[in-house]
């Protein structure tokens, strides 16, 4: 035990010395910052310095979502699975390796959530939303959101995103695009299959309830699970 402490101290001293050398070397060799936060200014000017999203439905939170999910979205914007011209334009000529690195960078960030939605919504609507999220609607063969997105609704590794920390209107907008088919995922496109069964009322209920949920104690996505998903999803191969 004692020996281990000494060992740790030596390592620490070495680390500090190395850091100092590394910093000095960086200063001397180039004034160009190489950190990812510099490289991704084109992302963070809209999605926030920490990827937390802006108070604007067009620029959602991207921080803390599984890296594979983010990578799937970036390639979809680049190659046509999702259509949002400003994103497609920025990503058009970026190679996969770099997009994976950008995805990992934002996946590793866990900034605070925005304040939960306080707008007035009828309790019955919220109750219906909670029911769909936690139990689904077996009669209509709609699975519970948490069956895939995790009991904490923070997503599941590697490809399923969290549902918290987003604006209600952003969530509703995405469900609308899944339903209309303008947003696609890797086939089989499970979210499209689900969204076509949702009414406008369902979408309002689910998105209103989700936007009111507080940040859980552990905001990280749940680890990949061997449990079978209620339906096959190309983004989460099993």
């Amino acid at each position: 035990m004692h020996r281990r402490t000494i060992g740790s101290s030596v390592l620490l001293v070495l680390y500090v010395m190395w850091s100092g050398v590394a910093l000095a070397a960086t200063d001397a060799s180039s004034a160009m910052p190489s950190a990812m936060d510099e490289r991704v200014r084109a992302c963070t000017s809209c999605h926030g310095v920490q990827g937390q999203g802006l108070n604007n439905d067009y620029f959602p939170r991207i921080a803390g979502k599984p890296a594979e999910y983010l990578f799937n979205q970036l390639t979809a914007f680049r190659d046509g699975g999702r259509t949002y011209p400003p994103m497609g334009y920025l990503l058009a000529f970026l190679p996969d390796d770099y997009l994976r690195k950008i995805s990992q960078y934002f996946a590793d960030l866990q900034p605070p959530y925005p304040n939960a939605d306080q707008s007035a919504v009828a309790p019955a609507v919220l109750a219906a939303g909670q029911r769909l999220v936690t139990q689904g609607d077996p009669a209509r063969k709609i699975p519970a959101c948490i069956a895939c997105h995790g009991a904490r609704m923070t997503g599941t590794q590697p490809g399923i995103p969290g549902l918290l920390g987003l604006h209600a209107s952003y969530i509703a907008g995405q469900m609308g695009t899944w339903r209309s088919g303008t947003r696609h995922a890797l086939a089989p496109d499970c979210m499209h299959s689900i969204a076509v069964k949702l009414s406008d009322k369902d979408i309002t209920a689910v998105s209103s309830w989700l936007a009111r949920q507080p940040r859980p104690a552990d905001p990280r996505p749940a680890p990949a699970s061997g449990e079978r998903l209620p339906l096959a999803c190309g983004s989460q191969p099993q």
Binding site: R41, A42, C43, C46, Y58, P86, F93, P95
Partner: protein, 462 residues
Amino acid sequence: MKPTLRSPGSFRALLTTVLAMTKRRRAHAPFASGLLAAGLILAGSAALLHVSHTPLIAEARAADTATTSAPGGAADTRPDIVKRGEYLARAGDCVACHTAPRGKLFAGGLAMETPFGTLYSPNITPDAQYGIGTWSQDAFFKMMRTGRTPDGTLIYPAMPIAQYTKVTREDSDAIFAYLRTVTPVREPNHKHTLRFPFNQRNLLYGWRTLYFREGEFQPDPTKSVEWNRGAYLVEGLGHCTMCHTKINMLGGSSQSEQFAGGLIPVQNWYAPSLTSDKDGGLGDWSTKDIVDLLQAGISDRGAVYGPMAEVTYHSLQYMTEDDIKAMAVYLKSLPDKSGRKTGPSAPTNTNVFALGEKIYADKCAICHGEKGEGKLQHYPPLAGNQSIEMDSSVNPIRIVLNGGFPPGTMRNPEPYGMPPFGQELNDTDAAAVVTYIRTAWGNHGQPVTSRDVNALRNAPLH
């Protein structure tokens, strides 16, 4: 002479417009298609009346000669030839048009929207039914040289036929050999959906008479081997002129304006001049800077952006040092000797300048430096940057509104991105900051107005 819609020049310009419009994937055409359409009909009719058959005879002769001198119809697919063919296909940027987003390699199907309808690039994989699997290398060469498919059909000039005609037989054969080795894809071609009369391929006879000069690149014996290699690549496979030659809606696209730059219709980016250093020419650039720009996408003088980012991404980054250098030597020789813009900066409204200066300090200086010096090579300098000083304000305005990443290349795999500012700057603010960077630090650009900015807010983003 004032150009008219009936003049041959205007006809060529109009067809050049079609060609440029169709160059880019998912191109849209949100403007005066009626004028263009009317012009094309008039000019087309006029041109058809005056068609001489001489060029056609010449084409046929060239093709016959090629056939008889050819070593045979089968592709020579020895590995070194295939490898060379792949390289040359990169130089010609075939993939940019012959592969659809998320589509299979060279299976075509890329939609190219024009005011006249939609063209779809064809499948050029070796599939016998849907691709070019039944073609001989003679047929492929004949297509490259004459701009006709083996059954004699005239190819729409969305394909750079006026440039590819310059490609040598040897290079054409190598490209064909490479295309024989890619995976055959059983996907039928989409039918073009051009409206009448643009679906009448005979109209292309007029275009060809005026614009198509069949024949292999002829080296200039007074120039170096390197210069000639560069000229061959730039004028031939590189088909740089498709964007870098001025396109005037009412005519005036003459040979003398070759490489003089111009607005690319539909895409709404300005292709800089390659012949005047006052407006983008590379005459006072070092060869190294040109090589860096083309191959890495970034340089000490600026970065590629807009449609040029695509060219570097798909094509130029793969070129050898020697070939890129040859292109640089040729490009550097193009500008006239009149030099860069000189004299004092343009006067601006003091309030606008002050507003622009404040916005610049607030949002831009962190990367581009307090005096527009940049941080080489990732944050381009703005002082003395021709992209900023150009007569056309389209590019500086669009870069401020839309931002952009240089392409991710082998030499610069993780580029630094410029944020879009369109969502946080209103037209007045954006105009002020663009006016500032165009007139500060001794720059020679002209001020821009909020109306100029507003007009580009809806420019297509692809």
